[in-house]
Every structure is written in structure tokens, then in C-alpha cells.
């Protein structure tokens, strides 16, 4: 899997060419759509009214499009101006379509009404097309510098494949942890946030959930299809409700749809007293026995460390620890 976030800052990577490529790639569109659908499902929004949703790292507005289809109003922010321009184009296009339909179904009174509207601010106007214009709005903003919103402004917050960009520092001032904590101030109305990301390693996942816990969120990481390399998706599901528990990750059947059907589930709870301990369980475990292989050096060092913690007599670590014995004839 390629990792563009290793190459540099998102605003540098997603230039005009890359943004266009991203937006026109049907694979990307499909994946983004699927993830957003799942994120919306995880948010458990009230279905009878539109919600006001913040989309952090909205990119070219692919996720926003899905939100629109669900009838939600969204504000997207992204660090790449070119991606935003793509999103803006889409919004403009949609608006023009909507306006176009409105015009064709109406006669000349349309314009007069419009003028009325502008000058007298009379809002009891009664016409329009069937096609709605896009309820999206855009901001050019770097989520690593904290969000410029008043507290309790949004009903929910989503972020699709963006959080991993914060795990890397491109200049020495950009301390990943600081940036992550800054972005964790999500200011939602006691509502939920679903942030999907691609952690490079389990340390990243732990780092992210630690930051979330520090800011006072309850929730955790939901891992869909944990046994598949391709379909595996990490969702950080957060809520201000203390008692909130992260839902179960998707497994089995749906995974098969992605040609990767294997079962199993995982979840890292942020709300645990020590997130490291909770998350550590996943990585610690007994090491899998390889065919013909013995215990690794890491395993031995780890074992000795635990023995020492228990207060047992343990030989000190030397250069010979875990070393292979010479071959015998």
C-alpha cells in the first residue's frame, strides 16, 4: 500500500494534478463512498431531520456528496487548496443544475421574484427546481492547527482517510502528538465523531486513541475486517458520553463482498484507564510459532522483562541474549 503521507505535507502532495487524478479515479470514489456510508451508519444520526456535519479533510468533496445524498448539511475543511477547488467546482455545478431546473420550470416572473428577494429580503418566495443545490460549504484549513469553530456547533463530525496525515512531522515544530491533540478538540454538540484513517502501525492507532482520550472523549477504534489487509479499515468512534462504548467492527459476510472474507473482530477502547494497556493486548499476545524458528530475541527480552517485574531472578541482558548457538555437525 502506498503511503503518500510519507512524502510530505498534504497540501504539497495533493496538487492540481493529483487532486484531479484522485477525483476521477473510480476506485477512489468507490472506496470513499463505502467508507462514508459506514461512517454515517456508525454516527447513528437521527434520520428524520438533516444534521449539521463537519467533514475534516474533505478533499474533493467525495464524502460530502454522500452526506448530501443522506440529506445532511456539511462544512468541509481541507489543507489542499486544489482539492477544495475540485470540491467547489462540484458544488457550483450542482447549484447551476438546480438553478437551471428552477428556471426552466418557471416563467419570467422568476427574475422579478429574485430581485424582490434581494432587495426586500422577502423570504416567502415559492418556487424552485426539484434538484436541490449542494448544502456543502468549504474552508481552507489545516486540521493540525486546531479547528476554528465555536464549541458545540456541529451535530457530528466525520473524517475520511485523513487522520494519518497528522502522524508525520515534516518540520521539527510539527510535533505529531501536538497536532493530533489540537485536532481532537472537535467541538460537537455532545455528539459523535467518526474518523476513518489508515494507521501505518499499531503505535499510530494507539497514539491517536491516546490523544482522543486525553481530550476527554469516550469511544474507541472500530476495526472492520481486521484479518484482511485490503478491506481492513480503522474507524475512531468518539463521543462525549462517558458510558459510550465503541460498536463492534464489521466482520465476515460483508468482508466477503470485498473479496477478502475472513471473520474476526477487533476494537481498542479509548475509555480504558490506560489506553496503552488495552491496545497493547493486541500486539503483545504470544508470538506465533514459525515453522522451524525458535524464540526471537525480542520475545526473550520481553519475557525476561516481565519476569523481572514479577521480582523473579533473571539473568541480565547481554550481547549473548537470544543469540543463535553455533551450528553443530
Amino acid at each position: 500500500m502506498s503511503r503518500p503521507e510519507l512524502t510530505g505535507h498534504a497540501s504539497l502532495f495533493y496538487n492540481e494534478k493529483e487532486a484531479r487524478k484522485y477525483d476521477s479515479s473510480s476506485r477512489m470514489v468507490g472506496i470513499q463512498r463505502e467508507i462514508t456510508e459506514r461512517a454515517i451508519e456508525l454516527l447513528k444520526l437521527p434520520s428524520n431531520r438533516p444534521s449539521f456535519i463537519l467533514d475534516v479533510g474533505c478533499g474533493s468533496g467525495l464524502s460530502g456528496q454522500v452526506l448530501e445524498e443522506h440529506g445532511h448539511v456539511w462544512v468541509g475543511c481541507d489543507v489542499s487548496r486544489d482539492m477544495l477547488n475540485m470540491a467547489n467546482e462540484r458544488i457550483e455545478r450542482k447549484r447551476e443544475e438546480a438553478m437551471g431546473e428552477g428556471d426552466s420550470s418557471e416563467d419570467d416572473s422568476d427574475n422579478d421574484m429574485n430581485d424582490n428577494n434581494d432587495s426586500n429580503n422577502d423570504f416567502n418566495n415559492s418556487k424552485g427546481g426539484t434538484e436541490e443545490s449542494s448544502p456543502g460549504d468549504l474552508l481552507h484549513h489545516d486540521m493540525g492547527t486546531g479547528l476554528p469553530f465555536r464549541p458545540a456547533s456541529f451535530d457530528a463530525c466525520i473524517s475520511i482517510s485523513a487522520l494519518q496525515w497528522l502522524c508525520y512531522s515534516n518540520t521539527k515544530e510539527q510535533i505529531p502528538k501536538k497536532r493530533l491533540t489540537a485536532s481532537s478538540h472537535h467541538y460537537t454538540k455532545g455528539a459523535r465523531a467518526v474518523l476513518q484513517f489508515y494507521p501505518e502501525s499499531s503505535e499510530h492507532a494507539i497514539l491517536i486513541s491516546e490523544c482522543a482520550a486525553k481530550v476527554g472523549f469516550a469511544g474507541g477504534i472500530v476495526v472492520d475486517y481486521p484479518n484482511s489487509t485490503k478491506a481492513k479499515k480503522h474507524y475512531l468512534v468518539l463521543s462525549f458520553e462517558r458510558s459510550y462504548k465503541a460498536p463492534q467492527g464489521l466482520t465476515g459476510l460483508e468482508g466477503a463482498l470485498l473479496n477478502e472474507g475472513r471473520s474476526g473482530s477487533g476494537g481498542v477502547r479509548v475509555a480504558d484507564k490506560d489506553p496503552r494497556r488495552a491496545a497493547g493486548k493486541k500486539s503483545r499476545g504470544p508470538p506465533r510459532k514459525k515453522k522451524g524458528g525458535g524464540k526471537t530475541k525480542e520475545w526473550i527480552l520481553h519475557k525476561k522483562e516481565t519476569q523481572r517485574k514479577k521480582g523473579k531472578d533473571t539473568r541480565k541482558d547481554t550481547k549473548f541474549t537470544g543469540r543463535k548457538r553455533p551450528m553443530r555437525f
Binding site: 428524520n48 431531520r49 438533516p50 444534521s51 449539521f52 448539511v73 462544512v75 475543511c77 489543507v79 487548496r81 477544495l84 477547488n85 467547489n88 458544488i91 447549484r95 438546480a98 438553478m99 428552477g102 421574484m113 428577494n117 434581494d118 426586500n120 429580503n121 423570504f123 416567502n124 418566495n125 415559492s126 418556487k127 424552485g128 427546481g129 426539484t130 434538484e131 436541490e132 443545490s133 448544502p135 460549504d137 468549504l138 474552508l139 481552507h140 484549513h141 489545516d142 492547527t145 486546531g146 479547528l147 476554528p148 469553530f149 465555536r150 464549541p151 458545540a152 456547533s153 451535530d155 518540520t171 515544530e173 510539527q174 491533540t181 489540537a182 481532537s184 478538540h185 454538540k189 481530550v215
Partner: protein
């Protein structure tokens, strides 16, 4: 940029020190769209529901100021409980929040004077690394 978005924005630089003072709009280009969801009772109901839901979260003074600087001054000075349940008012509110766009202009923080440019409907909130708030 919509008035709705303007209403929830704040200056998040270190200088503003976490204050939620509104941003003053200096508009050079404003676009008012016509409401598009009329004649559709379901869409109307959704609009009303949305406006009702947003109302408690809105900063009404900011909205009035914002609307004024965009050339609208028909908003009532305060929201009475009767108004908050009036469907006509809620639909009008929805229109003000959603269909009035600041296309080009400037947002100025009333406290620190920091300016945020709005071009093509996109507000620029990019900060320099040394302007960032220090997370607690």
C-alpha cells in the same frame, strides 16, 4: 461561505486566546440563491426541522451582524419562543443560513484584528505554525 458557517466560526489563533468573539464580515461579493426546495412538503419539513435544531446553537447577535454586513437587515433583534415555533420564520431562517453566500470578502477578528480572506466562497483559515493555539 454561508452565514451558517460564519456563525460557527471563531478565530483559533493563539492571540485570540480561546475567545469566541464573532468575525466581522467585509463583503465585496455576495450571492443570494433562491430557495430550491419549495413545493416539496418533505423538503420543507426537513428545512424547518433543521432550522429548529440549529436555533439554540446559533449566536443570534453574530447572525444579525453577519446578515447586516451582507446587505440583509430583516432579521428580528431577538428570537421569542413564539417565533421559534413559527414555521414561516424557521423557513426564512433556513434561507438566510443556507442561501446567502459570501463569495469574496474578508473576515476580521474583532478582538485581535486578524484577517481571514474569503475567495471563491472558500475562507482561508490556514495558520502559521507559531500562531497555533497550544492544546491544553
Amino acid at each position: 461561505m454561508r452565514l451558517l458557517t460564519h456563525n460557527v466560526l471563531r478565530n483559533n489563533t493563539k492571540a485570540a486566546n480561546g475567545s469566541n468573539t464573532p468575525l466581522r464580515i467585509t463583503a465585496t461579493e455576495v450571492r443570494v440563491d433562491e430557495p430550491t426546495s419549495n413545493n416539496d412538503p418533505d423538503a420543507e419539513r426537513r428545512e424547518v426541522e433543521f432550522a429548529k435544531n440549529m436555533l439554540p446553537a446559533l449566536n443570534w447577535d453574530t447572525l444579525i451582524e453577519g446578515a447586516k454586513s451582507m446587505g440583509l437587515d430583516s432579521l428580528p433583534p431577538s428570537v421569542t419562543p413564539e417565533l421559534a415555533n413559527d414555521e414561516g420564520f424557521l423557513r426564512a431562517l433556513y434561507h438566510v443560513l443556507m442561501d446567502v453566500h459570501l463569495v469574496n470578502g474578508m473576515l476580521t477578528c474583532t478582538e485581535t484584528g486578524r484577517e481571514f480572506a474569503v475567495t471563491n466562497g472558500i475562507a482561508n483559515f490556514m495558520l502559521e505554525e507559531d500562531e497555533c493555539e497550544v492544546p491544553k
